[in-house]
């Protein structure tokens, strides 16, 4: 290790190589703050060459590393590996090229999500993926986690907007995947890399697709007496043949929290709110709006409001986008899950979650991407209680297994990270997982790239429902 550090010092000046606790501490955890681990060092490359040399060094010395954008992963994806290296990419933050005719931009991984849309705005273009964390999270993190957002129903996830990637593989070899077209030849290697949770090396340059900004929007807010009815309303809208840009649901707890935080003017007597947004050409949107309004009329809504202007629309969204953090403020601690269920089973899933929540004696807030069936139950708990976290995790586990039972997935957009490792065998067979591992080893023979994430293995004992995590017992990770 000391040899490794000595060689790092040859690549980085001390202001970009952190070895001391004071500078390392901000990196010990990510958005899943209940866990932390201390890396041996943190480096801040400013060019591709430094990244490549660093990876070659890690490979030679068998030192695990994790790439880090803004550290907002909610599943422990960017949590350091004990005694490993954190490669912070925030200084690789340039938009290298923006081509309005081709509607593409080539960017470095540390560019902030909204930065791309800001740069493209003068051309009437934008970058569609819009995770709620978009003002802080990086495109590198979005890519590694195939992040979603409110508009996936119509526009897809991050993956659908990445055309090409220059990658430094975990042994330092640099490869090009994809190109600067929407089409490709041969297998979609870009598609494989996106969402691989940092297990396949570091994205150095990313070719993203830009879309023309929609000409017109129509945004509707419908309130319901129960969460279940709002869930069923989503199925009605989807079945009516209209394709909204976004469909989001918030429950009473989330509405209350969002109101307190940003005064979005939401109805105060609703058990659930459904937000539906149409976008596109003005004439097309007006025709869809008529169809949407009649579909919503059949869903038993208490009240239906349509945003009258852009200010009202932005206020509705401000409430929705702030809800997540606002709910977080209601409780000392929370964890959030992001399981997916078939849309027609939303009502059933929400009912079951409220029953599970009552059984566990823990409050659960729901604010989620309803159009995709992507739940986001926020489980509120107090980690200072002796078994606070264990109870919350047990409830989270029940919710994820419920999603699988209904035919869904354990994660729609937050990724597996360390948090959902133990549910992977519920979703995939040993053969499937072994295929994932073989693919991983063909790219990273030493399994140093984000070791211990996504794929259950020796280094990453599954989190346990009962008592402390085995890594905690071993003193390798600890809870805040």
């Amino acid at each position: 290790m000391s040899d490794f550090i000595a060689q790092l010092r040859e690549i980085y000046p001390s202001e970009r190589l952190y070895e001391d606790d004071a500078r390392i501490t901000p990196y010990v955890s990510d958005g899943l703050t209940v866990f932390r681990a201390k890396p041996a060092a943190v480096v801040m490359p400013v060019c591709n060459d430094e990244v490549v040399k660093t990876l070659a060094l890690c490979h030679a010395h068998d030192i695990p590393f994790v790439a880090r954008g803004s550290g907002t992963s909610l599943s422990g994806g960017s949590m350091p590996i004990e005694e490993g290296l954190v490669i912070s990419l925030n200084q690789l933050n340039q938009i290298l090229e923006l081509d309005p005719d081709n509607r593409t931009a080539r960017v470095q991984p540390g560019v902030i999500n909204t930065g791309i849309s800001v740069a493209a705005a003068s051309h009437g273009l934008y970058f569609a993926p819009d995770p709620s964390s978009q003002t802080v999270c990086t495109i590198g993190g979005n890519l590694a986690f195939n992040s979603g957002g409110a508009h996936c129903l119509k526009y897809g996830m991050t993956s659908n907007h990445i055309l090409g990637i220059k990658v430094a593989l975990p042994d330092g070899e640099v490869v090009e995947l994809g190109n600067d077209s929407l089409e490709n030849t041969g297998p979609d290697c870009v598609g494989l890399f996106v969402g691989s949770e940092g297990l396949m090396g570091i994205a150095l340059e990313i070719q993203v697709r830009l879309l023309p900004k929609p000409e017109s929007y129509r945004t509707i807010l419908a309130s319901y007496d129960s969460l279940e009815t709002a869930g069923d309303a989503v199925a009605t809208v989807v079945a009516s043949g209209i394709l909204p840009g976004a469909m989001e649901i918030m429950d009473a707890l989330a509405i209350e929290a969002a109101e307190a935080a940003v005064s979005a003017g939401y109805p105060d007597d609703a058990a659930a709110l459904l937000l539906v947004e149409l976008d596109g050409e003005a004439a097309a949107v007006e025709a869809e709006f008529a169809a949407l309004t009649s579909a919503i009329e059949t869903t038993g809504a208490k009240e239906v409001r349509a945003a009258q202007d852009e200010n009202e629309r932005m206020l509705i969204w401000k409430g929705r986008k702030s809800a997540f953090s606002a709910v977080g403020r209601l409780s000392p601690d929370y964890i959030v899950q992001d399981g997916v269920v078939p849309r027609s089973k939303l009502g059933e899933a929400l009912k079951a979650i409220s029953e599970l929540s009552a059984d566990a004696g823990l409050r659960v807030a729901n604010v989620f991407h309803a159009g995709d069936g992507n739940l986001h139950p926020l489980i509120l708990f107090d980690a200072k209680q002796p078994d606070g976290l264990e109870k919350a995790e047990a409830l989270a586990g029940k919710i994820l297994r419920l999603c699988l039972r209904l035919g869904g997935s354990i994660t729609g957009e937050h990724g597996v990270g360390v948090e959902k490792l133990k549910y992977m065998p519920d979703m995939f067979s040993d053969t499937d997982l072994e295929a994932f591992r073989r693919i991983r080893r063909s790219i990273d023979t030493k399994e140093i790239s984000n070791r211990g994430k996504m794929l259950p293995g020796k280094e990453a004992p599954a989190l346990s429902d009962l008592g402390p995590h085995p890594l905690e017992k071993a003193g390798i990770i600890s809870r805040m």
């Binding site: 297998p187 004439a283 499937d432």
Partner: protein
């Protein structure tokens, strides 16, 4: 005689016991290689179709046209517009070849709609990846990896797709420009505009073909808006597809019987460069998906077109006809491909995309 496995289990044991194996494509010519040739015609069922969920899971041997008619009965469709459906192409072959049609311009190509896949790798393992719900981030995205893999990582047995509702009203417009450059200018201008077009294709003569779709009563107004944006009236305006403007070999209904059909990923800028390079050749061609793909029907030496593409930093995929390899021109993705190949098919049971082949029919 082809083997014709009646079940996925039978297919698994065929793969396990073979040293070299390939799935018969829709062509009738016999292959020259010594591979075991199998037919997936018995794996032709719908596994699950949930119209309310807008998802469908099918076996790979099912004809694409049958998937389309099943969906159409419920007012739904495959938004990536699979080409060659009329020649009996199967859904498995469409995925393996990674093919999308002109109307993928609206919502995305095949990779954007494939949710899950079940396949048998070179070890004879039956692997399921992805899911059936419209959103899923667990595990590696192997469904996307399989699109365009030309079967070289494994044999696809089943796949799940996200589907969309068919818009009730559609229109096709044709604008004939005096020169390619003028048509190209209009293509670029429209591509950047907020018009939400279902298709945007350009011919080498400078004809721009636009398709739009929407709720009843909305298209007339949109057409006027497009006409005033382009400052000209459409030369044709129909409710039907107007494929007669394309040379037959690039209508994408049937693959040409002779020569080589190439899919060349482009972008609106490189379309200009490619067209200049092809001017003077008499290869029928079509710039599709808003300028993001060129279909080129090439009848001369494939080596020549390969080096032409390489000079432009373009890559080409042979979709039909003989060729030195399936991927020609720029082969920049090969080092990464080789790594994945070593993981899924180390013994080379399925053939290599970049290696010399006798025939590109896959």
């Amino acid at each position: 005689m082809d083997s014709n496995p009646q079940s996925i289990d039978a297919l698994v044991s065929l793969v396990k016991n073979a040293s070299s194996i390939k799935v018969r494509g829709s062509e009738n010519t016999s292959t020259q290689s010594s591979a075991n040739v199998i037919s997936l015609s018995a794996l032709n069922r719908i596994k699950e179709y949930l119209p309310d969920e807008y998802t469908i899971s099918v076996e790979a041997g099912m004809a694409t046209s049958e998937v389309q008619s099943t969906l159409a009965a419920k007012g739904q469709y495959l938004p990536f517009d699979p080409p060659f459906a009329s020649e009996g192409t199967t859904i498995g072959a469409t995925i393996a070849r990674g093919l999308s049609g002109p109307e993928s311009f609206r919502y995305g190509i095949l990779r954007d709609f494939i949710l899950g896949v079940t396949f048998i790798d070179g070890h004879g393992n039956l692997i399921r990846a992805g899911g059936k719900v419209v959103k899923n981030a667990a595990g590696f995205d192997i469904p996307k990896l399989m699109s365009g893999s030309c079967g070289s990582f494994g044999i696809i047995a089943e796949a799940s797709f996200k589907v969309f509702p068919v818009a009730p009203e559609t229109r096709t417009l044709v604008f004939n420009y005096s020169h390619f450059d003028k048509g190209h200018e209009a293509l670029v201008k429209l591509g950047k505009s907020p018009f939400t077009l279902d298709a945007l294709d350009l011919s080498s003569e400078g004809s721009l073909v636009i398709k739009l779709a929407g709720q009843p009563g909305s298209t007339d107004e949109r057409i006027s808006a497009i006409e005033s944006f382009l400052e000209s009236r459409a030369d044709a305006n129909t409710e039907e597809n107007n494929d007669s403007i394309w040379p037959e070999t690039v209508q994408l209904h049937n693959r040409p019987a002779t020569g080589t059909l190439l899919k060349v990923p482009t972008n609106p800028s490189s379309v200009m460069a490619l067209e200049s390079a092809l001017t003077g050749s008499n290869a029928p061609r079509r710039y599709s998906i808003g300028g993001y793909v060129a279909w080129v029907h090439w009848s001369e030496s494939v080596e020549a077109v390969s080096s032409l593409l390489a000079k432009l930093n373009l890559s080409g995929q042979v979709v039909s006809g003989g060729a030195p390899a399936i991927i020609i021109g720029d082969t920049g993705q090969r080092p990464f491909y080789n790594r994945i190949k070593s993981a899924l098919d180390p013994d080379g049971k399925f053939g290599d995309l970049y290696a010399p082949t006798a025939s590109a029919h896959l």
